[in-house]
């Protein structure tokens, strides 16, 4: 009996090591050159072009040009898609600047913002019931997705009227349930993003008291790529950037092709062309690579990332090992914010510059 147990144990130890090996050999673990890549996207006004890119064959066209394959995968849950990227299941994922800092970068996954797609210019907002101003929020419960850009927006809003988070009570509420929650009498204040925001402001007797157009350029939507993968495979960066700006050129036009592309994106995000145009109106899209490059080079970006870092540190998002807000280094063309020996998030305009120069 004992002998057989021992032999079973030996077999098991071997199996365990095999399984462990399998677990750890996730795609991102290979920094070596490869040809198959996966990009995850979630539904949001500024990210819908990726769906169009996949459906119209534009991504395939650019991938073929560089001799690689890019698989575009839609994920239903935004945070889950970022977690999967951080765990190494995806090579590239769409996310905001704040989430790029607090999830992959804070988890030690060196990430590069390959494309700066847009910034929220009214797509995120604080709404109160009744005819109110932001100051009336004092003492209220505010329902929002805690630790998200909504939370950041609220903090910035409160700051603008000389208050802080201590003056309100934040109630973590799942984004899927926010609109339903707003119908409840116990909910009097919410902070959220589009399309939920427009659903809520469309209800009678509501006031949008603060929105992201009052902090322009602070909530930025990015395409983030694993830095090691990108360095080993510049073709990936070129193909993605090339595809993106081809679609941007189509979208920004006024011809039938633009209408067709935007109608496709509208339907895929559950609205119609008019609704999608309304969302685009509160989004500052960088339709040309040159605009995005200019934005990335501006010193404002570094100032914004400092604010985001400080907010994240205050809320424990940089990890408990972080002694202060500068723990994680953020590289921008105008300089590095924070710890230069621990740079985990990089705004790298190189590929967008190539696109601007037509070098792709």
């Amino acid at each position: 009996m004992m002998h057989s147990i021992r032999s079973i144990m030996r077999t098991l130890t071997l199996t365990v090591s095999m399984i462990a090996l399998l677990i750890t050999t996730s795609p991102a673990a290979f920094a070596a050159e490869k040809t198959d890549f996966k990009l995850a996207w979630t539904i949001y006004v500024g990210w819908m072009p990726w769906d169009y890119a996949a459906a119209s064959g534009i991504v395939d066209k650019w991938a073929d040009k560089y001799g690689i394959n890019i698989d575009i995968v839609q994920v239903n849950d935004y945070v889950e898609s970022i977690n999967q990227y951080t765990a190494g299941q995806f090579d590239a994922t769409v996310m905001t600047n704040m989430d790029a800092l607090t999830i992959p970068a804070a988890s030690g996954v060196d990430s590069t913002a390959l494309i700066v797609g847009d910034f929220s210019n009214g797509n995120d907002g604080v709404v109160l019931k009744g005819d109110k101003t932001l100051k009336d929020i004092a003492g209220q419960q505010v329902n929002l997705v805690e630790l998200s850009v909504s939370h950041y927006l609220l903090a910035r809003g409160l700051e603008s009227v000389g208050m802080s988070e201590k003056d309100v009570k934040v109630v973590n509420t799942s984004d899927a349930d926010l609109v339903a929650a707003f119908s409840s009498d116990t909910v009097t204040a919410v902070t959220t993003w589009n399309p939920l925001l427009s659903e809520i402001t469309a209800q009678p007797n509501t006031s949008e008291v603060f929105d992201s157009s009052m902090i322009p350029g602070e909530i930025i939507d990015l395409l983030v790529v694993n830095t090691e993968t990108l360095e080993a495979n510049p073709k990936l960066g070129k193909a993605l950037t090339g595809a993106w700006y081809e679609i941007m050129a189509t979208m920004s036009g006024t011809d039938a092709a633009a209408t067709e592309a935007k109608t496709f994106m509208a339907e895929a995000s559950g609205t119609d062309l008019a609704g999608y145009d309304a969302q685009l109106a509160s989004t500052k899209m960088f339709y040309t690579a040159a605009e995005a490059v200019a934005f990335t080079h501006s010193a404002d970006l570094m100032a914004t990332m400092q604010k985001v870092s400080e907010f994240s540190f205050d809320h424990g998002l940089l990890g408990e090992g972080a002694p202060d807000a500068t723990f994680i280094g953020i590289e921008t063309p105008s300089g590095v914010y924070g710890n230069t020996s621990n740079v985990k998030l990089r705004f790298n305009p190189a590929y967008m510059e190539m696109a601007a120069e037509g070098a792709l």
Binding site: S107, G108, N172, S183, V187, G316
Partner: protein
């Protein structure tokens, strides 16, 4: 060589085999975690045991920097309070309606189809309706648990009441018992240990609904914390919380079993010496 169905492990063998899967899981974890951490020392997916220990100390034994509260204690108390209210209310309603349906045909005819219909509604699907009726506060969380488990308890108790031998009820009538006296002295005491069993079986679902409710809208609670820190993938907090929830659930199950054995020795006597 005897057939495998006839081969029994020895007492120690059984114990060793019982621990084996846990040891394997632990080994897999350690190996995988070490491998990931060797590659990226800030990896959060499979943290080291040191990170777990730090997280436990931070959440459990140090006041939070932001609020000055002990987070684990606070979360546990809030969650337990909601769970107890939800389960307690469900057990009470389940007992009253289940026994009523089982004993009184005029109650069963209108109520039984309704209970069956309600038990088939997936509670998560009617969440928006619950929000509008009960608000987003404590009430809607308790109501979600009640809607989730109460129909199951009602149906179980109704079946258990039906299962009481008709001979007993006839005997009680020949002893002069009124309907109420028979319910109070003959039926309820025999249903109580079965109610405890029903509660033990539905506790798992109750936890599920509690955590779902806390994930949707809350300011504290075990489910709230897990879903909050999931936002920045703090597995060093999530895994100890999951272990803690498992421990709490196990302790509740165990205590309910002990309470039942203590209060209803006759029931466990007929069940074969109090084995589960």
């Amino acid at each position: 060589m005897t057939r495998i169905i006839n081969r029994q492990p020895s007492r120690y063998g059984r114990l060793a085999l019982g621990f084996l899967p846990f040891v394997i899981l632990l080994l897999v974890y350690i190996v995988a975690s070490d491998a990931r951490l060797a590659e990226n020392s800030a990896d959060k997916l499979l943290p080291s045991f040191q990170s777990f220990a730090d997280a436990v100390v931070r959440m459990g034994f140090e006041p939070s920097k932001r609020t000055g509260e002990y987070l684990l204690l606070n979360d546990t108390l809030s969650s337990l309070q909601r769970l107890m209210m939800g389960v307690g209310l469900s057990a009470f309603i389940g007992l009253v309606i289940g026994v009523g349906n089982g004993m009184v045909p005029y109650m069963r005819s209108p109520l039984s189809p309704l209970v069956t219909a309600i038990s088939l509604i997936p509670p998560m699907a009617i969440l928006p309706i619950l929000f509008i009726i009960f608000g987003l506060g404590e009430l809607s969380k308790v109501v979600l648990i009640v809607i989730g488990i109460c129909p199951i308890i009602i149906r179980d108790i109704q079946l258990r009441t039906d299962d009481l031998p008709p001979e007993q009820l006839i005997k009680a009538q020949t002893l002069g018992g009124s309907s109420w006296q028979i319910i109070v002295r003959v039926v309820l005491p025999q249903i109580m240990p079965r109610l405890i069993e029903a509660v033990r079986l539905t506790l798992g679902s109750a936890w599920l609904f509690l955590i779902a409710a806390e994930a949707i809208a809350a300011t504290d609670g075990l489910g709230y914390r897990i879903f909050l820190v999931r936002r920045y993938m703090a597995m060093d907090v999530i895994l100890p919380y999951v272990l803690w929830i498992t421990t709490l659930a196990f302790a509740m199950d165990w205590s309910l079993k002990r309470v039942s054995i203590l209060l209803f020795p006759w029931y466990h006597g007929t069940q074969g010496g109090g084995h589960d």
